[in-house]
Symmetry: C2
Subunit: 397 residues, 2 copies
């Protein structure tokens, strides 16, 4: 088993002016690691703790970035895998990079594409825990992943069937073409049920791939930052070891990734054993988790940013987030309700429309429904983060 490259084989880390994390406040509440900060990027600032909306194909599904911005969206997540297949990095580069292509002059973070490729190969932890075995068999029989090796991962495009090789280097190059403010290096996603030897093998390969990614990145940094992805599954020793190896390399920040546990308790335990090993002067990110209880727990443990497509996805399916709990807009009770989704909410949807109209649009399958409902949930998430920051500033979290 090849060990990952030694830390001293990397150039010395130099603080880069175009990307820095400003720690504004550390909660003085006992036992808390909660903090309020500000991420400075070439495309503006991100207040932390912050919600990162997911624009898989470059758009927030039914929402224009202009409307997302109005709903307070700062950092936004795009998926390298999807953009690799459509429209492709060359097109985005020819169009002046992702910010110009999607016309959004605020910070963008992209992932490596690995998550989607490995999800296709053996499903996400969620799939693994929830899907019937027959579905899993079906998945492995029809998987579009052709070969996983030390070099990278060969898969077949779901769009046109062509073979695509995703390597640490090609993933970085795609993200260079996008011009993302924050690059995530390629890692190896493993199943939740894995023996300790296989898990170690996986963590070490991720370390090697991330080191290769960083080397590729440092050849031509431009105005981009790179976060490492901390691995180790639910094994505290491996999580600590992963932090130790990756924080010794000149990454600009750290994302907590890999298998994050089978439920929220395990997730919180993973964060509890991981977060203390991350440097306080660098930003961190929790990959793919942004349900409200996890955000509260994560923020208390020092997590700076949280991404998830769930607020916009559930909006499209009629579940709206409010401080009084979820509103299920398809329910008959909203039929003649002239109140907005949430009293006092300043979003475009709440300022313009009643629950009655939103209920009708949803029932009538009007496409506008997805747009209006998503705008509200984005605004809700950003309002939630503002409330969390205020609470930390009062040392109450």
């Amino acid at each position: 088993m090849t060990p990952p490259p030694a830390p001293d084989s990397f150039p010395v880390y130099e603080r880069k002016d175009f990307f820095r994390f400003e720690l504004l406040h550390q909660s003085s509440k006992e036992g808390s690691r909660a903090r309020v900060g500000r991420l400075h990027t070439p495309h503006g600032n991100v207040n932390t703790p912050g919600f990162v909306a997911v624009a898989t194909n470059g758009a927030l599904k039914a929402v224009d970035h202009d409307w997302g911005n109005q709903a307070g969206q700062e950092l936004t997540f795009c998926n390298t895998y999807h953009l690799l297949l459509q429209p492709g990095p060359d097109v985005i580069k020819a169009c002046g990079g992702l910010h110009k292509f999607v016309n959004r002059n605020r910070p963008i973070i992209t992932d490596s594409g690995g998550f989607q490729v490995f999800s296709l190969a053996h499903g996400s932890v969620f799939d693994e825990l929830n899907m019937k075995s027959r579905s899993n068999r079906h998945r492995s029989e029809t998987s579009s992943v052709l070969k996983i090796s030390e070099e990278g991962c060969l898969f077949r495009s779901y769009r046109d069937g062509r073979k695509v090789l995703l390597t640490p280097e090609s993933s970085v190059q795609a993200q260079k073409a996008y011009g993302s403010d924050i690059i995530i290096p390629l890692d190896e996603l493993h199943p939740y049920h894995i023996d300790s030897e296989a898990l170690l093998r996986c963590v070490l390969r991720s370390h090697r791939w991330e080191a290769r990614s960083l080397k590729e990145h440092l050849k031509d940094v431009r105005q981009q930052a790179m976060y490492a992805v901390i691995h180790g599954g639910v094994d505290p020793t491996l999580r600590k070891a992963s932090c130790e190896y990756l924080t010794a390399l000149p990454f600009d920040g750290f994302a907590v990734g890999g298998a994050l546990g089978k439920d929220r308790d395990e997730l919180i335990e993973v964060l509890r054993v991981t977060m203390p090993h991350l440097p306080v002067d660098k930003p961190n990110h929790l990959l793919g988790i942004a349900d409200e209880p996890s955000i509260w727990a994560g923020a208390a443990l020092g997590v700076d940013t949280f991404d998830s497509c769930f607020p916009t996805r559930i909006a499209r399916h009629g579940t709206l987030l409010t401080q009084q709990g979820p509103v299920y807009i398809r329910k008959q009770v909203h039929k003649e309700d002239l109140r907005p989704l949430e009293e006092g909410c300043e979003c475009f949807t709440c300022k313009r429309h009643s629950r009655a109209y939103l209920h009708h649009l949803y029932r009538a399958f009007e496409p506008l429904s997805a747009t209006l409902l998503s705008i509200h949930n984005i605004a809700y998430m950003n309002g939630l983060m503002a409330r969390i920051r205020a609470k930390i500033l009062r040392n109450e979290l």
Copy 2:
């Protein structure tokens, strides 16, 4: 065969301040009936000739009325049939009427619901001319229309299977509940292929139904206007007779409806024989037609407003209207094209986004695509109408 009620059985028409047509200019070009006017309604003015966008279920499909307004939309068309089944007139009334329900403080015209019901019974002219006979058989076997009689039309709701009786009176009452600025009375749609005796029977029934509608309307006018629907198929004598009967009744305006011919030439011929029999001091409307060549021809013949769902429908399917001809956004040629859909267009979409991004959104099946593309086509149609008005003012049409 019952004849329609005599015109002298109606109250004398009195000009209503809340609804009036201001004739601003009549083209002096030889043979032209083109005119520029302004319709004054309780919810603002409509410049004519004007494009009437269709918001079937109360929404412009993927476009909020706020964005439609920004794209210049004045008069908007809603469908009584759809709103009757979802959410229902009672809900709309309880929510303060259609303008408040959909939050649009600009004029709204609604139809009677008859078009949809009769389309279900025997298909539209388009279906009749274009669909395979097997499809037509299938249609008549599965038709949700249960009974058509002098009283009205009994049909089954496609949403929940309940029986709904649409009569001239119930259609007017639904439109009263909506609070539409312009009400269209119930008429009987007939197939394109129909013998002259059946056509006459149909026209006479429409006249009786429209007279009943008008009587129902005049019981409680509120701030609403009612247009008659001129019938007569492609028979010039019947069209003239329909104009004569209906213009003798105190309607506020006239819509040209019924079977409008099998192609554009027949449509223009119908308008040529109909328009001279409509009073110049009242507004008129062409039902369901708003393709560009028909608009130019119709405007020259004196048509004031044109409704059609086609500009937003083709937008959702990737066809964009520009002064340089249609743009098919799915075509590869737009892949890296950083120009807007149309140079100089001031719509939200053209001011923000490139063809390259719109091409990508369309290819990636992003729901935002429908919104952005629809906004452009609405803006295009309103720009087209402004150019037509300018041409008429210069006596060039």
